[in-house]
């Protein structure tokens, strides 16, 4: 059962009175929330769930694990807490709210509750918005670009991204400037 369907049914069962966050709590069982002890410092648990889902749509699990398994959400929370400026943080959090706005406008539900295809449609809209308004005159960049950059950096610098998806070789031992690509088969991270 996909999440959106599950929640709709639940809303029916309960007369639709449950708030979304309560539902998220109840739905913990088939939820995507990370199983370890991570407590986000900047993101709320809803925002953390949204960031986790967005990152997984940007770099999904395929024949190798994706952004969620690489805990990109934790990296993003860490960067927002200790690395980004207050203005960037605010802009990013507004962007998260905007994701749900788009999602609710089209599907009458929050992003995390949508099916995969609908999530991709929302992300495509976000990508188009970023292209239409690249914010060239600002120190900030469009939310989609920020989210994507976070995901790319967070994923490919993780152990999963660097050594399962790509190839990592920290002490190669020698140099060969011209080998068949098929001997490696993947980019060096």
């Amino acid at each position: 059962m996909n999440r959106r369907e599950a929640l709709k049914r639940m809303a029916l069962l309960t007369g639709g009175a449950l708030s979304m966050s309560t539902v998220a709590g109840i739905m913990g069982g088939c939820n995507t929330s990370p199983s370890d002890n991570f407590t986000p410092q900047t993101l709320t648990s809803d925002q953390n769930e949204l960031v986790t889902m967005l990152s997984e749509r940007i770099i999904p699990a395929t024949d190798t694990p994706g952004a969620k398994a690489a805990k990109v959400n934790q990296f993003i929370d860490h960067m927002l807490t200790d690395w980004n400026t207050d203005a960037e943080k605010k802009h990013f959090l507004q962007g998260l709210a905007h994701v749900n706005e788009l999602s609710n406008n089209s599907y009458d539900d929050n992003f995390v509750n949508l099916g995969k295809d609908d999530q991709i449609t929302v992300l495509k809209k976000l990508e188009q918005e970023a292209k239409d308004n690249p914010m060239n005159n600002s120190d900030l960049k469009p939310f989609f670009d920020m989210m994507k950059e976070f995901t790319v950096v967070g994923y490919y610098t993780s152990e999963i991204g660097a050594s399962k998806e790509l190839k990592s070789n920290i002490v190669p031992g020698y140099y060969d400037g011209c080998i068949p690509y098929s001997d490696v088969g993947r980019a060096w991270s």
Binding site: I58, K148, I170, V171, Y174, G177, I179, P180, D183, S189
Partner: protein, 572 residues
């Protein structure tokens, strides 16, 4: 009390030789002086860095780093702003660069001078670019032929055997090419070019007369050498290398000095000034402020070697005031602090190379290719617009996941695309000579001091007409060579260059024949004070376009040899 008593509680210690600084030049001075039997004190203003043990980030994967290699942005912006602007610090090496907040200096807000420093045992030898190119007489004769600055008091023949000597100890890998403008050295086997570079080399050399491309000559071992291990191609040298594959004071010169039993190395010792004895006209020693306790202490020596980096040595000399030298010791000429130079860069081009999609490389080569100077090297290459010349450094590679930041799309296709490396790209950046100009200078601040009470340096320097015209030519020749080599979508680039960011600052205590216009003679000996030697980059009378460190090494070894002979003869 008129004069501060600098040695109330600490009796002076006496040595044969005092070396100020433990970087590339100081390490060489230490090695040469101790091996020749002098009890030598090396004073280093920063903390100790022990070979191996203190390379705390060596081989650390991104995923173990707090900011995944992105660096602590807030810390860098607040406390390392100048080091950050120079684009050399990162999460894994910033502990080898200075905190600008702790060690401030004054410069122009518009067009600042970027002073990149490494205050620790080993200095910047831990983080240097390791490129090593000899000078030729084209460089040593340029000033006098063109009537620029002062004539170098030495020629290639004076330094040639010293290049041999330091190269044999340091271990330089490279390819002999037989070029008059870039003399060959004592090379270990060269590193390999990759497939695209090999092809580009052929095409550049067949398309342009006088243009050559060679693998970078670098102070990185390609085979075991004097107890040090060869390169294992991990890549990021500036984190430190515990097998000692690249030359640093820690891997090469300090161990040799230590072996003699004549070395005393004292970290956390900020040299305040050189003590001048007017009765003997000698440098008697140095005044030191302990970095941690702020206690002052004097050290005496028969000979003093200043190796504290160009601006570091200059600052100390300027601050060494006496009745005989009210403007700084050995500064009767008044040129101390002037004629500050660097190499200008941030101009170049790159292009895509097709047809090699099935080729890749193994290992992270800490070296690139070099295109030696080809402008103004003879009548045929004479330029109307500018004097001197430039060389190119660069290489070919395939971009990895980093390009994903700017690549369209997301999802499965996006991930799949990033699994393969991107297209081969070959790019080059020019490094050009900057002419000496008196207005490019450093002086002591009239009112600003550091935490240790030492006047801060105030630095003013920028590039002028000759460099600006050269930059146009750099962009042009970069594009034409990459196009001739078969590059596609060739893009030139030129971004703002600030003086200092070449990290090749030179010239503020220049050598020359005339004591009226230079600080040092042909032996790096102060014209004014015979037992005072300055052998770091401040001695340079011009910059050439080659990376300078190997020349500092050779000049230092040569000066140490001279100093010891003079001591033995009783001349100093």
């Amino acid at each position: 009390m008129k004069k501060k008593n600098y040695y109330v509680s600490n009796p002076p210690e006496e040595y044969d030789a005092i070396v100020v600084g433990s970087g590339i030049s100081g390490g060489w001075a230490a090695k040469e002086l101790t091996e020749k039997g002098l009890k030598t004190l090396v004073l280093e203003r920063g903390r100790n860095v022990e070979h191996g043990k203190d390379y705390t980030t060596e081989h650390e994967p991104n995923w173990d780093a707090k900011f995944r290699g992105q660096g602590n942005r807030k810390l860098f912006e607040e406390e390392y702003p100048m080091q950050l602007r120079s684009n050399v610090i990162n999460e894994f090496n910033y502990h080898f660069f200075v905190n600008d907040k702790t060690y401030p200096y004054q410069t122009d807000e518009e067009d600042p001078f970027l002073w990149v420093r490494g205050y620790q045992v080993g200095g910047r030898s831990l983080t240097w670019g390791r490129q090593t190119y000899r000078w030729s007489d084209l460089d040593f004769e340029a000033n006098t032929k063109e009537g620029i600055g002062v004539d170098w008091p030495i020629r290639y023949k004076d330094i040639e055997s010293w290049y041999d000597y330091v190269e044999e100890h340091a271990g330089i890998s490279g390819q002999a090419e037989g070029l008059p403008q870039l003399p060959d050295g004592k090379f270990l086997p060269p590193m390999d070019m990759n497939c695209v570079e090999k092809d580009v080399k052929k095409k550049i050399e067949s398309s342009f007369e006088y243009r050559h491309m060679t693998i970078g000559r670098c102070a990185v071992l390609t085979q075991p050498h004097k107890g040090r291990g060869p390169c294992h191609y991990c890549g990021p040298c500036s984190r430190g290398c515990s097998v000692g594959a690249y030359f640093s004071s820690q891997s090469s010169t300090l161990p040799a000095a230590r072996k003699t039993g004549n070395l005393t190395l004292r970290p956390n010792s900020i040299v305040h000034s050189v003590i001048y004895d007017k009765d003997t006209n000698r440098a008697k020693g140095v005044r030191v402020i302990d970095r941690l306790t702020k206690e002052t202490k004097e050290f005496y020596g028969k000979v003093v070697f200043m190796c504290a980096s160009t601006l570091g040595s200059t600052q100390i000399l300027l601050n060494s005031k006496s009745d005989a030298f009210p403007n700084g010791i050995a500064n009767s000429s008044g040129v101390l602090g002037h004629y500050l130079m660097d190499h200008h860069f941030r101009v170049g081009a790159s292009g895509i190379f097709e047809g090699y999609e099935d080729r890749y490389y193994y290992g992270n080569r800490p070296n690139g290719i070099y295109i030696p100077r080809f402008r103004n090297i003879n009548e045929a290459t004479r330029q109307k617009d500018f004097l001197r010349g430039y060389g190119f450094q660069g290489g070919a590679s395939r971009p990895s996941w980093g390009r994903g930041r700017n690549m369209d799309g997301f999802g499965e296709e996006f991930k799949k695309k990033l699994r393969d490396p991107g297209p081969w790209r070959f790019g080059i950046t020019a490094f050009g000579e900057i002419l000496p100009n008196k207005d490019n200078h450093a002086k002591l601040s009239a009112d600003k001091k550091d935490e240790w009470g030492i006047p801060q340096l105030e630095i003013h320097a920028h590039i002028r007409e000759n460099e600006k015209k050269m930059r146009k030519d750099m962009a042009k020749t970069a594009v034409e060579m990459i196009e001739a080599a078969g590059g596609k979508k060739v893009q030139p680039y030129e971004s703002e260059y600030l003086m200092g960011e070449g990290i090749h600052e030179m010239g503020t205590a220049r050598m020359g024949r005339d004591p009226k216009t230079s600080v040092l003679n042909k032996h790096n000996q102060a014209h004014d004070v015979p037992n005072l030697f300055v052998t770091d980059g401040s001695c340079m009378a011009s910059t050439a376009c080659q990376n300078p460190s190997i020349t500092y090494m050779a000049l230092t070894a040569r000066a140490a040899d001279y100093a010891v002979n003079e001591l033995k003869k009783g001349n100093i």
